[in-house]
Symmetry: C2
Amino acid sequence: MSTDLAQALDLGAIRRRVDAVLAKFLHHPPHAVPAQRGCGGELDRELAAFVLAPGKRIRPLLCVLGWYAAGGADGEEALWHTAASLEVFHAFALIHDDIMDASETRRGRLSAHRAFAARYSHRPDADAFGAHAALLLGDLALIRSDALLHGAGLSARQRDAVLPLVDTMREEVLLGQHMDLVATGRPSGDVEHALAVARYKTAKYTVERPLHVGAALAGAGPEVLALCSAYALPLGEAFQLRDDVLGTFGDPDTTGKPVLEDLRSGKATVLMAVAAQHATPDQKRTLQALVGRPDLDQEGAATVQRILRQTGALATVEEMITTRYEAALSALATDVLDPRVADALRSLAVRAVIRTA
Amino acid sequence: MSTDLAQALDLGAIRRRVDAVLAKFLHHPPHAVPAQRGCGGELDRELAAFVLAPGKRIRPLLCVLGWYAAGGADGEEALWHTAASLEVFHAFALIHDDIMDASETRRGRLSAHRAFAARYSHRPDADAFGAHAALLLGDLALIRSDALLHGAGLSARQRDAVLPLVDTMREEVLLGQHMDLVATGRPSGDVEHALAVARYKTAKYTVERPLHVGAALAGAGPEVLALCSAYALPLGEAFQLRDDVLGTFGDPDTTGKPVLEDLRSGKATVLMAVAAQHATPDQKRTLQALVGRPDLDQEGAATVQRILRQTGALATVEEMITTRYEAALSALATDVLDPRVADALRSLAVRAVIRTA
């Protein structure tokens, strides 16, 4: 383990290094088709702008922490390229997710499909065109994340360890998306289903697998991988539950996300499922009438918020967050981990769960 | 080179072997998420049904022929898995393409997005839901093609040779799609742009790169790769030009594709670009009024067909097909290739260009 571990674990420094790899790769993509006649590299420019917009880089961060958790040494290019490839993959997930959710904005800018529609507003089919161009942009992000990973300079041992994990991660987030898509618009009292979506879409995809990928890259054995899971899964669920609470009760100016979006789309959150379980018949009818209405207004949202409080759903979910947060922290209380790595993971956990945006 | 090469080159036998790999992989996908609660493996079932529906398997065939062209020996599992992964990738391309083209049918069945919309017709958002589920299905196909390739048992040497080629192939088809998307609905006289789309979407993606992948897997040097390109690029362009002619003049009962589809969407084919170049001002106005009209009827289509003949566009494109077909065949007249491999490639070329469906 590096003596400069404390420095290596500086989250800001990790982010900057990942950003540098991303910028270099996206501005000069390898194997790029030379002549994009009539399109002038539009998709490449859009992808670079999308990925390089300021972001938390949570998946690359966790990948790097997983590497150090497994005792990885300093300074391997393979680590930085692999970590960066997770961010490019994430761009794919976000761009396609925004199409499905019909989201207007992302990271304070127009979402990809809205940006294309705006740029091609002279076309009679501008909206469909925007969705289709964004579909291709997402596909390009996925393909480029592969190219970045394939060219990361992994040893044969690392490839054998990492590629199946990455494939699994991709599949998990996709099936989580599918479960989400099927459930959205049909709010039910199925807490287990809502939790399973949170597990696949967030806990595994955002936290566990990035840690695993970094750890496997450093040659982690089953003990370290299991420790990563014990930390990641409850933390990831807590993160998603916090997201759901902020999506309904947060301050849009702070979250950057309109409060009405989750409610209008009828997102099948754990919060909503718990409320549906404990609602009186009257409250249930009100929820069914309001949640999933594309024209829900502030007054309707306030009514839903009131029911989420009255049924105890908000308190229950806050308690679920706390339980999971504590489980994640207690997983770190082990001498398998260098205490400085445990500290970094603890600090990430605090920020994931105790936040307003 | 195997003494049983003639047998190894039996195209029907290759197809059956690829189909067997596909069926095994898709019915028992590795790393599959165990509990797709509430969705019951729906995406997996759809993907298996989509890929396993009868098809020409042209890309796997060419991959296997590329392998033998480079002197590959019999019976490597890596070859069959790699060849099959190209077909799974192609499912991704078709599923997303059908969303963008709003195609109703594919291979004589409902297209993926229409099939989902029909199955979920009880949802008020059935059409959007169908498009979004198909978006995810396409994503899954892409991800699974990676998993199949990553698990194909390639040696380190093979991985280094093949993965960058596959990444390039994916990027080329995507950028071809983008060029196509931008040009569609705006028919112009830009023959070069239309030819570039044909090159990226078809010549490189469907013919050249599959040959390259198979050849690289067998350790091909630059000479064999260049020979593959000399055969593939003109053949692939001829194939696409034939497709365009059939799309406008073919018998829908034979092609399985409504003649009006290309015309209604305003597909920017070479055929249309040549016509626009040679049209009188009157003919040009007629083309602009009719091509790209979503409600174009048979009478309008007949008018467009007449202009395509009168301007000489149909004859020009038929001549372009012949020139390219001959160039492809003459590339095979070399002693670099085993004559039996050259025969198989020649037989594929005939079928690609001289066809009615």
